[in-house]
Symmetry: C2
Subunit: 347 residues, 2 copies
């Protein structure tokens, strides 16, 4: 999939910084919100940015390897949680209502027939990936279809007036897939050895975690360590991860702000970034997950998330919780008085 | 001032934890929000807590020492910023509007005559403290009046139905006062030597900071290192700091949730805590300030703030920015589905 992403023109940076610096506060006193305001202004190429129709999109998919024991939960929990999203009862529903964020759910490849449902985008590639312990998780055709479908979903959001999208995911077994992608795409030489980037996911105990690591070693013995992003995605990816990668690229093509959640979403970003690094200036990193591999990913991408709340839930909950900070950055830039307008002496 | 604070009864903790654990998420997956939900439930002694009429209250006061050069800004900025608050143009106004928080401003001792104004509570003890380089900052009568007035302000908020108050402050020179209080009340043996807890405040350069440290050493040579909170407050405090300490104690008496902002607000908490340590379970620490002494205070109080955004603005901005996390903690506890209600399998 060829994508065309224009990095934000930096010419506006000086004027944005000047606007930030004349606000009635000591220089730099709003800390990371100031950097965020600058970034959002550059992404939107304006001194008066606006976050329009912000959305969380949850991509859901099943993993063939889930039944081999890489997760603490049974595979059925994927579709059950999709039902929970559609019924409004999950954490992400609560947070989206609070933050007044739109929410949609994409069936990228759940092993369940939902029928036609309000709030659910049917983009099912197949009812779950193949088991990567035995064969590649997906074919090249499936992978390319997932990427392309994700890109179209992002373009459709932009067409409907949304300029800011937060990514979330649901898929029993997807921290395992994310660990495999992370070790392949970052490499042990940058700290992403399999042991380090494999964590308890939704809550494996020590025995469960040891078993998960053993299974993932077995997967790597079968499929190798592909460093090429498309090949890594075919071997170990999930449909939800592939579709998120495509959607991130599509969002950056349309100059949307991209809000990155935790470990699994960042594994999709690793794929997208390897395909087109120009998307990175469009990304805001919402939170620091407790999943140990997230630290390695963030360090590789030289990115610092906004908050650290020891979350390890996924669903886009970190993106939703960090949302008010993005809005606050835009609001202070647009609505705070300047020293001149308020008649306050500067230092 | 005698205060009567009942520490939250812990008997409800098990039932609250059980309610948290049955939500449709892996155990502990909402991280620090879960601890926050537990705390708020205990403060309010209910399984269904509610944050009612949340308020930010900014306490403003002037410092006699400001004219000796402890700040990068002239003393007039205190009243000018109060005018900015009243006009709605400061950072805290922007954030309170966004978060739908009430905002009031208390004139605890600003060197300016505001007259009668909407949104301004006149609690002026005197037009600024005395210069602690020459004499104690306030008399025992002034100090006690400030504490008592703060307590009454908190009680009045509670009487009007507010059960959650965030503290903010404004006062040119008040990081210097906070540094002196911090070194006296924590002591060098706990890492609060004057050098460590004196920082650039609103933005002193290295020369300015060295000068500030020199002046504060001079102040300590005059007034000594009182470890008794009331005596320390008299020697070095500000009226806004004393009034905040009283208001915190009053808020805890009325079982309100107390949201602590940055370095100066925490210096008021050190005073309040020394007067009645029972208030601590009512406090939520909003953010980690860039002012270096804040780290020492937090470590002394064994408290971890919710966010770290490199803020050093005051006004209660950190408290306002962390606000959605408090609301999110309450919301997930009240509105998320349980495994049973959603029909989701647990691990």
């Amino acid at each position: 999939m060829q994508t065309h992403i224009i990095p934000p023109n930096q010419a506006l940076a000086a004027a944005l910084q000047q606007k930030i610096d004349r606000k009635t506060k000591p220089l730099g006193a709003l800390g990371r919100l100031e950097a965020l305001a600058l970034q959002i202004g550059l992404v939107q190429q304006t001194l008066e940015p606006e976050l329009r129709q912000p959305q969380i999109v949850i991509f859901a998919g099943d993993h063939g390897a889930a039944r081999a024991g890489v997760s603490a939960y049974p595979q059925d929990v994927t579709w059950q949680m999709v039902e929970n999203f559609l019924a409004g009862g999950a954490a992400i529903n609560v947070f989206c209502r609070q933050m007044e964020l739109g929410l949609s759910v994409v069936d990228a490849g759940v092993n369940h027939d939902f029928g036609k449902r309000d709030g659910l985008i049917d983009a099912k590639i197949a009812p779950g990936t193949a088991n990567y312990l035995e064969q590649p998780a997906m074919t090249a055709e499936q992978r390319d279809a997932a990427l392309q479908r994700g890109r179209e979903i992002a373009h459709a959001l932009a067409d409907n007036g949304c300029n800011c999208v937060g990514f979330g995911e649901m898929g029993i077994g997807n921290t395992a897939a994310a660990s495999l992608l992370t070790t392949c795409l970052i490499g042990a030489e940058h700290g992403a050895d399999l042991y380090t980037v494999t964590g308890p996911g939704t809550g494996l105990d020590d025995t469960g975690l040891a078993h998960k690591r053993e299974l993932l070693k077995q997967a790597l013995r079968r499929g190798g360590w592909p460093t090429e992003p498309l090949q890594a995605l075919s071997e170990y990816g999930g449909f939800e991860i592939a579709m998120m990668a495509g959607a991130m690229l599509g969002a950056a093509e349309r100059r949307m702000l991209i809000v990155i959640d935790g470990f699994i979403v960042t594994s999709a970003l690793l794929v997208a970034h390897a395909l087109n690094p120009n998307l990175l200036p469009y990304c805001v990193f919402a939170h620091h997950s407790l999943e140990p591999g997230h630290r390695v990913q963030l360090s590789f991408l030289m990115s610092q998330p906004l908050v650290e709340l020891d979350l390890r839930l996924g669903e886009g909950t970190g993106a939703a919780l960090a949302w008010p900070l993005l809005q606050a950055a835009v609001n202070f830039l647009n609505h705070m008085a300047s020293f001149e307008s308020a008649g306050v002496d500067s230092a």
